[in-house]
């Protein structure tokens, strides 16, 4: 079970996921946090696309009239990536809209600052 060299797409996607996750944890700026979230999404797409690839085969679109499963790569991860992209776009747009509202209310994008101001507002 030593496939780390052959599976380098998956390995890179895992590392990319970690980078995005660290961005999510360490950044205080909300927009940078969501950039981190998007990097994590991209890592998942890379992983799925890598799972579907098969050496020496062509994209799953009918070429030269060959109807044979051993001629094309796996089409299922493409559909899954499409779903992922749509969900990621929706989540990003929704969260950025929330960030815009937060900025209008508190005048800051810094997470700690927003938390402090909201506590002051609550009167804790």
């Amino acid at each position: 079970m030593n496939h780390l060299e052959t599976n380098f797409y998956e390995a890179v996607s895992v590392i990319l996921f970690g980078i995005g996750f660290m961005n999510l944890l360490l950044q205080n700026n909300l927009i940078k946090k969501f950039i981190g979230l998007n990097i994590m999404d991209t890592a998942v797409y890379l992983f799925l696309a890598a799972q579907g690839y098969i050496f020496g085969r062509v994209a799953p679109i009918l070429t030269d009239g060959v109807i044979d499963a051993s001629y094309y790569v796996n089409p299922i991860p493409a559909g899954l990536v499409l779903t992922g992209i749509v969900v990621s776009v929706s989540i990003t747009a929704f969260s950025l809209a929330l960030v815009q509202r937060l900025y209008k209310h508190y005048g800051s994008l810094n997470m700690d600052e927003i938390m402090r101001l909201s506590r002051e507002e609550e009167g804790e």
Binding site: M1, N2, H3, L4, T6, N7, F8, Y9, E10, A11, V14, I15, F17, G18, F21, M22, L25, L26, A50, Q51, G52, Y53, I54, F55, R57, A59, P60, I61, L62, I67, D68, A69, S70, Y71, Y72, N74, P75, I76, P77, A78, G79, L82, T83, I85, V86, V87, V89, S90, I91, A93, F94, L96, A97, L98, Q100, R101, D112, M115
Partner: protein, 301 residues
């Protein structure tokens, strides 16, 4: 001790159905809010975050541990690109070998997402619609959530949009936007024949609309694309999708036999419902993309 005994008596009465709540009136009159333990104060992220260095070290450590575990999983995964991987199973063989016969689409992925898994794609279109509706809820400006400062800013923006000369952007947009939109339409209409489809073509059309709007301003855009057209296209697209797929699910599940003719694979008018569904999805995605842009910049479509 006596209290406890009476509690058990009460409980017995409650089990027998003679009392509804144990000492209900007395309890409501005398209850005090529980002294909560404030766990969230001891273990809150904010408390950990107070100490910046500890927080950074902790998060780097957690991420490194996570990456290590995942890398060991990747190490145990089957080899990349091998045709004998468990992910390349009989489902894929079925889609590839029976795809053209059953869906009529030359693009196997289009046949998969808009015929075999059309319900899933309907969900995706709904997710997009829901997201844009949430953004409308959060960001759309109307008379009630409008301050004088924002009003003034908006008027200044409009002034610059109409009076400022931006020849490179405007001429570029005038020449490029129709091409971009035309290419998007091509990608949508050929979704079942070539790479692309409703989602990618729709985002290309949306990009063309955004280019035009950024060059000529919101006012000019509103001459042909208002909030009303936006809602009509989105809701109409979703309803058409729903009707098409309901029809094919209903007739297919009941073996009625009123199937849409598949046509000759490779022709533009083929593949049953895939072309209209692609058009529906493309319209929804284009409207959504432009809607996001307009709402984020001006707060209005």
């Amino acid at each position: 001790m006596k209290d406890k005994k009476s509690f058990w008596e009460h409980l017995k009465a409650w089990v027998d159905g003679e009392e509804v709540i144990l000492n209900a009136d007395k309890y409501i009159a005398t209850r005090t809010p529980k002294e909560s333990l404030n766990w969230h104060k001891f273990f809150s992220v904010q408390n950990v975050k107070e100490n910046k260095r500890n927080y950074a070290v902790l998060s780097v450590g957690i991420t490194a541990l996570f990456i290590g575990i995942m890398l060991s999983v990747v190490d145990a995964l089957p080899e990349f690109g091998s045709p004998y991987n468990p992910s390349n199973n009989e489902v894929m063989v079925r889609y590839l070998e029976k795809g053209i016969e059953e869906t009529g689409a030359v693009n196997f992925v289009a046949g998969m997402i808009l015929d075999y898994r059309a319900f899933d794609t309907f969900g995706e279109a709904n997710v997009l619609f829901l997201a844009v509706m949430c953004v409308v809820l959060l960001l759309k400006k109307d008379k009630k959530n409008y301050s004088a400062k924002e009003e003034q800013e908006n008027q200044e923006d409009d002034f610059f949009d109409t009076n400022e000369k931006r020849p490179i952007l405007q001429i570029g947009a005038k020449m490029l936007a129709p091409m971009v939109i035309l290419y998007g339409i091509y990608v949508v209409l050929n979704g079942h024949l070539s790479p692309g489809g409703g989602f990618s073509g729709g985002s290309i059309i949306g990009a063309g609309l955004i280019l035009y709007a950024s060059a000529y301003g919101q006012k000019k855009m509103q001459t042909f694309f208002t909030f009303k057209t936006f809602t009509k296209i989105c809701a109409g697209g979703l309803l058409t999708y729903c009707a098409c797929k309901s029809y094919s699910f209903f007739t297919g599940a009941n073996h009625v036999g009123y199937e849409i003719p598949k046509g000759i694979p490779g022709n533009i008018l083929s593949a049953g419902f895939i072309l209209p569904l692609n058009i529906c999805v493309g319209l929804i995605v284009a409207c959504t993309m432009y809607g996001f842009y307009a709402l984020f910049t001006k707060g209005d479509i």
